[in-house]
Amino acid sequence: MKITIALAGNANVGKSVIFNRLTGLHQHIGNWPGKTVEKAEGTLHHEGYTIDVIDLPGIYSLSTFSIEELISREYIAEENPDVVINVIDATNIERNLYFTLQLLELGRPMIIALNQMDLAEKKGMCINIKKLQKILGVPVVPVIATQGKGIHDLVHESINLVEKKYKKPKIEYGKEVEEEIQKLTKSLSKIELDYPKRFLAIKLLEGDEEIKKLIKRVETKIIKIAEKHAKNLECIHGHHRFTVIASERYKISNEIVKNCVSLKPCEVRFSDKLHEITTHGVWGYLIMILSVLSLFYIIFKFGNFFSDILVKSFMSLQPIFEQYFGTGITSNLAWGIVEGLIAGITIVLPYILPFYVILGLLEDSGYLSRIAFLMDRFMHKIGLHGKAFIPLMLGYGCNVPACLGCRIMETQRERLIAVFVTTLIPCAAVTTVILGLIGKYVSLTWALSLYVIDLIIVFILGRIAFKVFPGEPTELIMEMHDYRMPDLKTVAKQAWFRIKDFIYIAFPLIIACSFLIKVLDVTNLSESIENLMRPITVDWLGLPVFSGIALIAGIPRKELTLITLATHGGTTNFAAILTPVQMIVFSLVMMLYIPCIATIAALVKEIGWKKAIFITVFEIVFAIFVGGIAFRLLTL
């Protein structure tokens, strides 16, 4: 028999840990049809049941504020999952129950997974589960997902729920509100929609636009009736109708907490002390700067070492390859494909993978949300809020997952600005070029200066973008959950999915493009291209002629610029073919001139091809402009 379970809950309650525990490796991650919101599905088999699990996005409410909320409620109402498991953070029951109450209104059979019981205990909380179960009218299962405790019970209870007849619990609001809800529910008795009538009535009272639209299609009179009821409520309570209903819900959850949770006094915990110091007005910033710098230092120190070994061992394959396939044109072209593959691997394994693992650890432990907190006012200057700092950080690994990471921004406009500034962040590939060229042949100070210049440019362009795209910036409203030990499996999975973005989008393009460049080489077309580019490369940027093809090679993958520079300059000793000024100008242009082909593909996916092309063309022109200015300034 087949059962479908939907996992729903707030952000950061350990929903994905439970999802992983339930489904193991049988997962499929895609997008919701037509939306840029991730959809995770998985299957498990248990006692003859095939159980499909859907992980809904982490949300705080079932209103229409965000697309995630809309998706979740549409899914539950229209697809009718057999069971909804509502994951609740045991350390933060009051806020979580606010969402639970709304889920209950959707009327599907429900189980509550009370997660992070261990942390709640440490916090001195004593939760009366039986009482909670009685008040809510649905099974409550204590869970410690990180240790796998309670997972089996969840499956067991789900099957139980499917086999038994589900009795809908009813939680009543305060007297005045409840009366209005019941009256309106009666008026809705003839309306047949996917949603339960009580849910529709409550949403109409709240003034939910989507539900209004749905009902208008069948019956317009009810909207007027609802308006009257809602006005009545606003009159009695003196607040906006939405606020009235929300207050009622919070009142109920507050009552439940008072009834079921008792607090024992406990000493100040380490996680609280850590929170205090990492958000401190002085120490917080110091710790942030130190941790970000050491992250980069470790990654690039380690990455350099590891990638050297990889490149050497791969390059030793070339003679063997030539032994088998000869040195003719076809073999040369085939080697181009291999080179593309190598270029990809030597950037993923040594740099991007460790970077994302460490970043994932910081994210899961809760530190990234503290950085978002500290960076909020700064990010506001470019029309974004603190959370945008997270995709920007991802950008230093690879721009592709960073662009997809911009989905955490609330509005389209903010996603666009965030995506735009993200493409200006030097990724790991760019860093290898800057370190290999400037760090090695000019000076480390100059290499670092390029990063500072880049940040200044990001800031200025971000600010211009903020002025160009009209609209108020969304304010930061973010919950900062307690610090916790990161769950290694969740981190590993997260890192893998981010890298998968890179592998699926970038790898094929890198390989195709390195093949194309080989074709240009073999057919001697590259020389004519170099000559065509002469006015830009030589006259405006003051670079040698052969740099033209190197800049083209950077389109598939930026680290190829360095390799191409070496092959076309005839030596790997760059000091012999480039002056320090040329190196700086070259690196600067390469850093800014075009998001690589894989990033362009990600841009198209996220913001549509028109805007993607606009950003690409703009950045090419801008980079050439900045490069020319830099050349003139440096040769004064």
């Binding site: 029951i93 009051e94 958000t279 910033y285």
Partner: protein, 79 residues
Amino acid sequence: MPEKSMKLIDLKEGQRGIIVSVLGGRSVTQRLTDMGLTPGTEFKMIRKGRLCPVEISVRGSKLALGYGVAAKILVKVKE
């Protein structure tokens, strides 16, 4: 006699307050009430730095609020 209300942002660190109302459009109001900042809710001002946003503790958890939004919330001081 109703007490004088002030902006949330004008509270000092460590002071406790009670939410009176939220000024501003529906989307801000909705987000704030969804996060539990409904009228009558008690909270504590935890941090308000020169560089960082405001941090309050409400309904047993910590909430970060940007300066702009913190200026839109009317509160009264809890003695």
